[in-house]
Symmetry: C2
Subunit: 170 residues, 2 copies
DNA sequence: AAAGAATAATTGACACTTGAAGTACTTGGC
DNA sequence: GCCAAGTACTTCAAGTGTCAATTATTCTTT
């Protein structure tokens, strides 16, 4: 740690650059781990709430949320895109919801390969009940931040999202 | 943004409060969705890289990462805590890694209920190879942000983490 | 020292997720 | 019209995750 001043002008710029670089590496990893921790924590709380209050799961809630904004229904592939999961996954979740009468698969007469998935009346009713509670949970979890801080976060994450989304679809 | 100083003290508190409230709700949900999207995106990329380059998975990598920092090994329950997953899960992941010779369970003579899990020499070698690449991926993914932005994010997420972590263990 | 409570790890049931392989249908060039 | 290529969805295996119940061991209390 004790520096030999006689070599200072030789070593210093090099060490300095390395140090800055090292800090940056450390910082990126630290940021990533912290982001992951926050997201997982919130996600787990939401999941637990959905389970305790409505005996349902986050993926099911997510699928229904997508359908609620699409009165004409969505194709399985559209659900897959919007939920950012693979197609095989959507099949399983839709199967479960359909079995409980919350969604229906309707065949599209113009293209018999596709299903249009829609919320049933019961599905809509149930979703609306869940959605309003869900919003309260989220608001509560983020209540520790001021609006200014939330705005900053939205801004910074928006930038990040833009960068990490590149190199996905050519 | 532009403030009208002449009306500042006269603004109707009622409407203003409602508007602020509504914006806040919207903002919290928006922040949550954006955070989720960013995290999922990065997580998926890291997972894909781990799969493509090393035929391994994120949970396995995570477990090995915990062990690498603990030369004396960790108990299953400690792994469970640090990885923020349930115990049953750790059992399965450890089983897999042990079968491949990357990890060993050693019985603790002072308490025969516990296992101390350690990295084998082969496990250490493999982890170090993965870790350096992993760091590069993360740095690359966050390279679009300046150090200043990263610092801001770390700061803000730190605050958030603190708030959402409360009410967990009394 | 024996009964009972607490702790460490495992197991089994179920849900979600991916990726690859398979089926059914549509489209476009010949 | 027909066949190849592409698209939409399903199925299956393997891994990850939860929770609840079980086993084995240790600690506590009397």
């Amino acid at each position: 740690m004790a520096k030999d001043k006689s070599t200072l002008k030789l070593v210093e710029p090099h060490v300095d650059a390395e140090t800055r670089l090292h800090d940056d590496h450390h910082l990126s990893v630290r940021l990533w781990l912290r982001m992951l921790a926050c997201t997982n924590r919130v996600e787990n709380l939401v999941r637990q709430n959905l389970q305790a209050r409505f005996q349902t799961t986050l993926p099911r809630f997510d699928l229904m949320a997508q359908l609620e904004r699409a009165p004409d229904g969505l194709k399985m592939s559209e659900l897959s895109q919007r939920m950012m999961v693979t197609g095989g996954n959507v099949t399983g979740i839709t199967d479960g919801l359909e079995k409980e009468g919350l969604v229906v698969r309707e065949v599209d007469p113009s293209d018999r390969r596709v299903f249009r998935v829609k919320l049933t009346a019961e599905g809509q009713r149930q979703f609306r009940r869940m959605a309003s509670e869900h919003e309260q949970w989220v608001i509560g979890l983020f209540a520790g931040l001021s609006m200014r801080q939330k705005n900053q976060l939205v801004e910074l994450l928006g930038e990040l999202k833009q960068h990490v989304s590149q190199g996905c679809e050519p």
